[in-house]
């Protein structure tokens, strides 16, 4: 059920990308559909890599829309980010069956957390987009900041993940 909901949520940005792209709608749609199918397959067989791959393909379909577009920043990007995060949350929750049944109140709490996460994703994406549009510095400086941020983010993730997986 959650896998189907994830697929439905992921289909929204895919449809948007396929409809709004000025060029190669077939390619964009194909990539998007492949992403949705991969996500459903991943949730069905319990393959988490397929879920990430499905999200990535749907994101690539949106990237093609952005690249083929007429220039200018797509202000709907935060909504697309929210949809991708919501689809990911739903799909990953379907991957790991619960050990114990949850009371309806607890299920509502979990659903609330997922919804808040998706809203938070929209907010973060909106802030990032705002920062990029606001011309806070020279393009070169901004690019350097971006590179450092990307590398720092990956480095932090790798460090924290290594701490997490090291034996206790």
């Amino acid at each position: 059920m959650r896998a189907l909901a994830a697929a439905a949520v992921l289909a929204a940005p895919v449809v948007y990308s396929a409809v709004a792209t000025p060029r190669a709608p077939g390619l964009v749609a194909g990539l998007g559909i492949a992403g949705v199918a991969l996500l459903i397959l991943g949730a069905a067989v319990g393959a988490s890599d397929f879920v990430a791959g499905g999200i990535a393909l749907a994101g690539t379909a949106y990237l093609l829309l952005v690249l083929f577009g007429e220039g200018g920043v797509d202000l709907r990007a935060p909504l697309v980010a929210g949809a991708l995060v919501l689809a990911a949350e739903l799909a990953y929750s379907a991957l790991e069956p619960p050990l114990a049944p949850a009371a309806p109140a607890f299920r509502a709490l979990r659903a609330g957390r997922v919804a808040l996460t998706a809203l938070g994703a929209v907010a973060v994406a909106g802030l990032v987009l705002l920062a990029s549009v606001a011309e806070l510095g020279s393009p070169a400086v901004l690019e350097a900041v971006g590179i450092v941020a990307a590398v720092a983010a990956l480095g932090l993730l790798a460090l924290l993940a290594r701490r997490l997986t090291s034996p206790l």
Partner: protein, 424 residues
Amino acid sequence: MNRRPTPKLGGYAGLAALGLFGALVAERPELVALAAPFAVLAALGLVLARPPQAAVELELEAERVFEGEELEPVLAVESRTGVADLELVLLLPHGLAAVDGGNAMTLRLGPGERRELPVKLTVDRWGGYLLGDLVLRARDPLGLVHWEARLDRRRPLKAYPRPARVDELLQPAQTQVFSGNYVSRERGEGIEFADLRPFAPGDRVRRVNWRASARRGELWVNEYHPERNADVVVFLDTFAEAAGERESTLDLSVRAASAFVGHYLRHKDRVGFVAFGGRLNWLQPRTGVAQLYRIVDALVDAEIVLNYAWSDVDVIPRHTLPPRSLVVALSPLLDDRAVSALLDLRGRGFDLALVEVSPVPFVEPGHGERAELAHRLWLLQRDALRARFERAGVAVGTWDADTSLVGALEEVRSFRRSAGRAHA
């Protein structure tokens, strides 16, 4: 608790990396907007992921229950740091069942919060259990990290068999020397009139039968049958059993044995116990409530242990089978060793009564002519075996789950009344 990252953490980190590097290559801020939430979630999840430090204890209200009863152990859960999402499963051994799946639960604990969670269980079968094997899984608020643990909070629980319903039990043919409830064949002090005899020096005056004395012209006294107790040994065949989905011949035997033991001990008899099978277990005959608990505890431990070695009654300690005791045997008569031992006991002069716990209802006849023929031959073999016991002077009553034990005991009583016994 063992911590491990969920697949979601790796997926989010990968998507964030892919998006950020894609944004650098394509020089599009939209990709940064797509990747940033994944990166922020992954980093937040790792930062917020703290070990839950959950402690769980199991409280059992009673360590002894009866088969078929409900019990409600309580799981006391607390956490110093709080847990956003804690799943808890109390693993149940075979024989215990949860009411409405209540042995698995999900909860949220605040920092320092303690919750007491009752778990409703039913005891489906008698036996000894260890209850308290727990599985825990805790998640951080974003579901990126799991902590799992298996806790051993096992406490012993004994489920006593539900005694089978009996109104009247078998009367032993011979009694012992202590006071009891059976009218003995001997002569002495009692209530039941036995005989008259001439007065002898030392006899009490109140025993003089004045009417007989007047008729005979000399003093004659009444003699009575004293009330005595008896020695009873409950003999349980644990070599083999026939089992269905819900119960087996051993289950029925243990319930019947529990009824016999309780009844005879209430009548002030000395009761002993022998579990004769792959593993021998015995208790010498004694009286009292303590003996009841000893025998019931021994019954709870009774089980079928596969063993191919030949055993006979010589392995049973002599004090466990006192002379002149009534041996009440419960057996499905599936194993030759049990059959041989019972006939040997009869040959040694024991007063033996056999309740055959029939395996027939547990055996489905096969399909086809040969299978049906084999099944009929098997039934005829069992009839021949019963006849062999009866020829040896052993009363046999057949009992299964669909019939009453009272009927089987009446069968035995009827045989004992009509056949009479030959003393060894």
